[in-house]
């Protein structure tokens, strides 16, 4: 009986003997083993085995196992002699297999002839070794059903599903032409062709995503270009269908395109996809969503332009490591147009949260690139441009191209300014000074050219956090992080700052500033100048001039101003009155304080827009304050934005407002609040793609603000893309869970998607978040239970009407929308007319609101459109 002790004894002797020459072995064994013949035999037999065993384990187990598979005649029908394939010549019902045309891990694709319809088709068959694999078969069925719902010219169609005992297959549209991979192998593509192909791919993906389908294996080999230049996305074999939301109630089953009865595609965690196009999250085996396709799209775009893959390596491991770790090598792109380069950067963000959130946004950016002139103009103007304009367009496109051929513009660095930390002695005052100063620094630095400064809304989320600058840099994808502390004592302010550079992982610079209270602006500008120098920004003489001069401010006024500004940007209606009070205090002490007046103007705009104050009171006040602010401080961006909003939302001078917005963006590309107003204007005009692009820019500056998600969500809802809208609302709610409006709108997106139960749950959640009592909730529940959503809306209209009448406040526009939901056309029109008579700012949206579609042709509604200058 062999025991560990015995084994160890054998082992010891064996190792010594192995080292000896043959002649010495016997004597040694005699000595060591003595009379233990058994021991001697063991060692000798092992020595013999050792001599024979050489190379026995040389081939790793993997190869042995693979050999097993290779030697198995049934394992695969592939013959080494050619591409005919085992099924060629065989017949499955009316389909005759002709030749093997493609092969992937998930199956083989044959060209076949359909004798019934007399046409050639493609048939994708499961490899026979998987024909009985339930997982594979169910995945094949899923692919079939996914394709059946994706009726889009850019996606290969499915004709039929065949299942016989040994062969399961999909009968697909046969697409003749070359794959994008083959096209790229011939070299980089010209820009026009790239834009054309990319646009069509994005279009197809958008359609898939809207159906809740993520492709997950997008790559050039899965994209076919037909002989007449059309693009088809193929191979949804790895596609993932978004899981239906949890309470799949009776209503949910009525939906035509519901995948809830399909098996979940991903039964094994992990590794689907092709390494070179796999997003980092996919490579890590984390769950993926549509943003993985956005990543792959970026890889493909890069490859079309450069002719080379973005992420390369000698083997899968190396490729995956590159995907996870390395930045794309931008030098492989020969002089890419700046817009395309930015688009690529946004698609190839390692962190999905930082990536372009959906392909629709990519589409918008591409469109802007394809149509550099018309994209900026309102639709009616674009339409009437005529031939002359066409000539100009061509000239500009030409100029655009020659501009592109200039050297690649350097990457614009991104800076995150962490909330200032108040050092002892800490008081509520010093704390709010620190917060206000944070915002002030951000705005001040944001004025610097060629620097992107993340907005205060995003940065305030990092207050009191314990993350290191390097963690924050990674999270926000910024090159620089500014960390500062502030100390207020004896009439002096001390600010200590540290600038961290992520690419070098080190503190680039530290400094300490001490100033009298009243010279706080001077301090702020000095800090901005120093940072510009550290980051190597080239300042224009005007910038230098502006940063060198600073007026003195009264400390109390300044503090009040900082407070007001910060409160305003919490965007909580409850804060508006305090905001006004703080700003008026500042102005009372220092009537020449232009910045404070500008923020006051902004406050009035917000109040008018949110219908907290009647429009015809709020907007004129806003205009007055903004104009005063500009006379005191020419070029103040806050004041300019306020004026543009007055123009759009009150004067209804849409063209003028748009020109204003464009001018502000050109001068202050980092001013986050300009994008909000501009996006809203674009939405009102029905220019959703441009609005999405603006929202996207906003998101770059302000990645953690709920506002841009809200806007994107709403646009998707208006474009009838409920699935995307739902996702965006969820993200916005994550950032701002107390926003009742967001819950309510999420409900509407669910309703649009046909998910009644889920919609009702969200409406109730909105009411609960909004502070409604149990009676209110119960009444609505009973209405819903007896008469569904129709009953719900009727009840809600009744309850809200009663409430408003008791309080004596009328939200005219909201009331119109409620009546529209219930289906009361006459009342809807009446309330809209009332909204028009008070010049309600929301009226700019009546042209796009889905609620009003039913009454669109009514002459009264047409009259309203005219009054809102939307026609």
């Amino acid at each position: 009986m062999m025991t560990p002790e015995r084994y160890s004894q054998i082992s010891r002797i064996y190792h010594e003997v192995v080292e000896l020459d043959a002649g010495e072995r016997d004597a040694f064994l005699d000595r060591e083993c003595g009379v233990d013949e058994e021991l001697r035999r063991e060692v000798l037999s092992l020595l013999k085995a050792h001599d024979k065993a050489g190379g026995y384990f040389e081939r790793p187990a993997m190869e042995v196992a693979a050999q097993l598979l290779a030697d198995d005649p049934d394992a695969t029908h592939n013959t080494s002699s050619g591409r005919r394939g085992a099924l060629s010549g065989r017949r499955l019902k009316q389909y005759e297999f002709i030749s093997l045309i493609g092969e992937g891990g998930m199956g083989k694709v044959y060209r076949a002839h359909d004798h019934n319809l007399g046409r050639d088709v493609a048939i994708k068959v499961l490899p026979p070794e998987f024909a009985t694999d339930r997982d594979r078969v169910s995945r094949l069925r899923t692919e079939a059903r996914v394709l059946a719902t994706l009726n889009h010219p850019g996606i290969g169609s499915i004709y039929d599903v065949q299942e016989e005992d040994s062969v399961s297959g999909l009968v697909l549209e046969l697409i003749e032409g070359e794959t994008l991979a083959e096209r790229i192998a011939r070299g980089p593509l010209p820009m026009e062709e790239v834009l054309k192909i990319a646009g069509q791919v994005a279009d197809a993906l958008e359609a898939a995503h809207e159906k809740g389908v993520v492709h997950r294996d997008l790559k050039p080999a899965n994209i076919k270009i037909t002989n007449d230049g059309r693009v088809k996305v193929l191979d949804f074999g790895l596609a993932k269908v978004a899981k239906p939301s949890p309470p799949a109630s009776a209503q949910a089953e009525e939906r035509g395109q519901d995948f809830s009865n399909l098996p979940t595609v991903v039964s094994v965690p992990g590794i689907f996809g092709t390494p070179a196009y796999m997003s980092p999250e996919q490579a890590r085996g984390e769950p993926v969503d549509q943003r993985a396709d956005v990543w792959a799209f970026g890889c493909i775009l890069f490859e079309m332009l450069s002719g080379k893959r973005v992420f390369q390596g000698r083997n899968t491991t190396e490729i995956l490591a590159t995907v996870i770790r390395d930045e794309p090598d931008w030098t492989k792109l020969v002089r890419p147009p700046s817009g395309i380069r930015q688009l690529l950067e946004r698609c190839l963000q390692k962190n999905p949260a930082e990536r372009m959130p959906n392909i629709g946004v990519v589409q918008a950016a591409l469109e802007e690139r394809r149509n550099p002139v018309t994209a900026g103009l309102p639709r009616w103007q674009a339409a009437t441009m005529g031939l002359m304009a066409l000539v100009i367009t061509l000239a500009l496109v030409y100029l655009g191209f020659s501009y592109w051929s200039a050297d690649t513009p350097p990457k614009i660095p991104r800076l995150a300014v962490l909330p200032l930390r108040a050092l002892p002695p800490v008081s509520p005052e010093s704390d709010s000074f620190a917060d206000g100063m944070t915002e002030e620094l951000i705005v001040g630095l944001g004025d610097l050219p060629n620097l992107t400064v993340l907005s205060a809304t995003t940065m305030m989320r990092y207050k009191d956090n314990r993350k290191t600058p390097s963690e924050i840099a990674r999270e926000l994808n910024v090159e620089f992080v500014l960390e500062s502390s502030v100390q207020i004592s004896d009439g002096k302010i001390v600010i200590r700052s540290l600038l961290y550079k992520s690419s070098e992982d080190r503190q680039l610079w530290t400094a300490s500033y001490e100033r009298e209270h009243e010279k706080i602006l001077e301090l702020q500008r000095k800090l901005a100048r120093d940072i510009a120098a550290q980051i190597n920004l080239r300042l224009t003489p005007e910038d230098e001039q502006r940063l060198a001069t600073a007026r003195k401010v009264d400390p109390v006024a300044f503090l009040a101003y900082l407070d007001g500004r910060r409160l305003l940007h919490t965007r909580l209606p409850a804060n508006y009155l305090t905001t006004i009070e703080r700003l008026e205090t500042a102005i009372k002490i220092d009537p020449q304080f232009g910045a404070a007046r500008a923020v006051l103007a902004e406050t009035y705009v917000y109040m008018g827009f949110a219908q907290v104050m009647p429009a015809n009171e709020a907007y004129p006040l806003a205009r007055k304050e903004a104009q005063t602010a500009l006379s005191l401080e020419p070029g103040n961006a806050d004041a300019l934005v306020a004026l543009a909003r007055v123009r759009a939302e009150y004067d209804r001078d849409y063209g003028g407002a748009e020109a204003d917005y464009k001018q502000i963006i050109q001068k202050n590309p980092n001013h986050p609040y300009v994008y909000g107003g501009y996006s809203e204007l674009l939405i009102a005009l029905g220019r959703f793609k441009e609005a999405l692009a603006m929202t996207e820019r906003n998101r770059e500056l302000d990645p953690q603000s709920a506002e841009s998600f809200e806007r994107a969500a709403w646009m998707n809802y208006l474009m009838r893309k409920p699935k995307t809208a739902i996702e965006e609302w969820k993200r916005s709610i994550q950032l701002n869970p107390d926003d009742a409006m967001a819950h309510d709108e999420l409900g509407k997106a669910y309703e649009q998607d046909g998910q009644s139960a889920e919609a009702f749950a969200r409406y109730q959640e909105a009411a609960a978040v909004g502070g409604r009592d149990d009676d209110f909730l119960n009444a609505l529940r009973r209405a819903y239970e007896s008469k569904g959503l129709q009953g719900y809306w009727e009840k809600r209209l009744e309850l809200e009407t009663k409430e408003e009448e008791e309080a004596g406040i009328y939200f005219t526009y909201n009331r119109a929308k409620l009546h529209a939901r219930v289906g009361n056309s006459a009342e809807t029109l009446t309330w809209l007319e009332m909204a028009a008579s008070e010049n309600n700012s929301r009226l700019i949206f009546i042209g796009v609101e889905l609620d009003f579609e039913k009454i669109r042709s009514d002459p009264r509604f047409q009259e309203l459109l005219k009054r809102a200058r939307l026609q």
Partner: protein, 181 residues
Amino acid sequence: MLVAWKKGDESALGQLAPLVHMELQRMARRYMAGERAGHLLQPTALVNEAYLRLIDWKNVDWQNRAHFFGLAAQIMRRILVDFARARGREKRGGEGIQVSLSEAANVASRRQSADLISLDDALQSLEKLNARHARVVELRFFAGLSLKETAEALDVSVGTVRRDWSLAEAWLYRELNADKE
């Protein structure tokens, strides 16, 4: 540091299994096309790949890496042996577990290959006699690690690994070929 695989090898198995199966398919196809073994993705690379997926590899220290390889080797062993067993059962209607291995099409020398299933049994006996020797076989043969990597994974010297390997190899060979002697 919290890394996925610490939660237990079941999840790690889930990560590795599909990789291994896909790679097996790929390798088998290449064998049939007559390609040489040297061009194939090595098991180490697979383990590395799984490793990349499972952890934020930048933050991992050597200790954990070693631990991971040890675990991965055991998992590879289970996957491959199960695979061989499943194929054996298919072929023989469920009775035998012995799978005869034909000569590799691409191997010029008439080298023998180990029968994975018998090897697994023999390895189980060896484990009881000397666990480290069994680990060495797992790391070298199943995970494809080099002598040096194996030494690092086990935190012993390369010399020790070489000696362990030499004896374990002889031992297993003798066990597996006992009836032929």
